[in-house]
């Protein structure tokens, strides 16, 4: 019997990367999370609201975190990611990388190239996943996910901090039909934050958060959060 492969999961704190982590755990050994912290909010590859909560997610999951600061400049980001993965390889012996890429050829190709250069495996378990089935799986598998940013019509401010449940999913399906957004937010229409997952040992509780919203764009900026027993 083959030993499980040791994998590092690229983690933005949102539903896709943490669901990919969950799927990887079912097949192989997740050795660490890897996160890039871009200083530039317009980062092409890696920026999402509330990246600063990824360390708390790593603690909740009982996983070590490899983090790397980045200036968030397009060409430099790939070098920064490569350095982070090299550190993960040295420190945690990872043999491969897992991403939550859904359909982004731009993002996926670049990560595949970095992994190839570093002689690492690369897995994208959500690649071209059926959006309806994937979103249903999030609920059925016990993920607790809130909306942490909206960036398109017709999202109003009430979505910020809203739990993604079946009622929210039903509304999103209406938006897909009427406004042609993607159900998963793959087009950047909304971002998410995972507060609990099946592999978390503790869950995240938001104590204090500030919302900013204007013209269909807004974020939930979590100021204070802590872990509590599940």
């Amino acid at each position: 019997m083959r030993e499980p492969m040791r994998l590092g999961v690229l983690c933005s704190g949102g539903k896709d990367s943490l669901f990919a982590c969950y799927r990887a755990m079912q097949e192989e050994k997740v050795a660490c999370l890897v996160t890039l912290f871009p200083e530039n909010p317009e980062s092409y590859m890696f920026h999402t609201p509330n990246l600063h909560l990824v360390p708390l997610q790593a603690e909740a999951a009982g996983l070590p975190l490899v983090s790397q600061k980045s200036r968030g400049v397009e060409d430099e980001e790939l070098g920064d990611l490569s350095r982070a993965l090299s550190v993960a390889s040295d420190r945690h012996g990872i043999e491969g990388v897992v991403t939550g890429a859904l359909m982004s050829v731009y993002q996926s190709s670049r990560i595949q190239q970095i992994c190839s250069d570093l002689d690492l495996w690369c897995f994208n378990p959500l690649w071209y996943a059926d959006p309806d089935i994937y979103m249903e799986q999030l609920f059925s598998e016990g993920f607790r996910v809130v909306v942490s940013g909206v960036f398109s019509a017709p999202f109003d401010a009430s979505w910020l901090g809203r739990k993604l449940d079946r009622a929210a999913l039903s509304e999103l399906r209406g938006y897909v039909r009427d406004y042609r957004i993607t159900l998963t937010g793959e087009g950047g229409e909304y971002e998410t934050l995972v507060l609990d997952a099946p592999f978390f040992q503790k869950r995240i509780v938001i104590e204090d958060a500030k919302t900013t919203y204007q013209n269909y764009r807004g974020i939930l900026d979590v100021k204070k959060a802590h872990l509590e027993e599940r």
């Binding site: 190709s109 595949q112 897995f123 071209y128």
Partner: protein, 186 residues
């Protein structure tokens, strides 16, 4: 019913999600049922009631199937349409007398049609998603349908309905898979 062959390093592992499931969804959208089989679990012959076979791709570093050419002997004994995608094209080449060598492409690439065929888009060139560490020389007598700057991208057996694609049609070129499935049903 379409048989989807997984050339991945283990049955039902992460490459299945990434390379087999997207093809399965295209089959479902086309109204066709499908059956999954890992390549190492194939018998001497393919299951009955199959209308076609698709040998899917796998991860860039996943090349264990190349060391197991006997696992694909069943290809010699089937007359139904076969489509090999990436790793699947490599399998077809090795099985029928072609060859495989190192040759990597990652990302969107221009593919130039050298011999127009109904399987491919009806244009002289198109963009396609590439993810391969090896390229192919086709078996003797097979026709080259398309190339990129780096390697051969599409081939066909002129005597049997067998096709190989180095690019991944399940990404942004679904229609190629749909046309193959129409051929299976015909």
């Amino acid at each position: 019913m379409i048989l989807l062959i997984d050339p991945g390093f283990r049955a039902d592992s992460l490459p299945r999600d990434e390379f087999v499931s997207p093809v399965a969804r295209i089959a479902e959208r086309s109204g066709l049922e499908w059956k999954y089989r890992h390549y190492a679990a194939m018998d001497d012959a393919i299951p009955t009631d199959m209308e076609g076979v698709i040998i899917c791709g796998t991860a860039l570093k996943d090349n264990g199937f190349l060391a197991c050419p006997d696992s694909f002997d069943w290809l010699h004994r089937t007359e139904i349409p076969v489509l090999g995608i990436c790793a699947g094209m490599q399998v077809l080449c090795l099985t029928f007398g072609g060859s495989v060598k190192k040759g990597c492409e990652i990302g969107m690439t221009d593919v130039y049609v050298t011999a127009p065929h109904f399987l491919l888009p009806g244009v002289s060139s198109f963009q396609a998603y590439e993810l391969h560490s090896h390229s192919c020389e086709p078996p003797p007598g097979w026709e080259i349908l398309a190339v990129s700057d780096r390697c051969i991208q599409a081939i066909r057996d002129p005597l049997h309905p067998r096709f190989g694609l180095m690019f991944h049609p399940e990404v942004r070129n679904d229609r190629v898979v749909e046309v193959f499935l129409e051929l299976c049903r015909a």
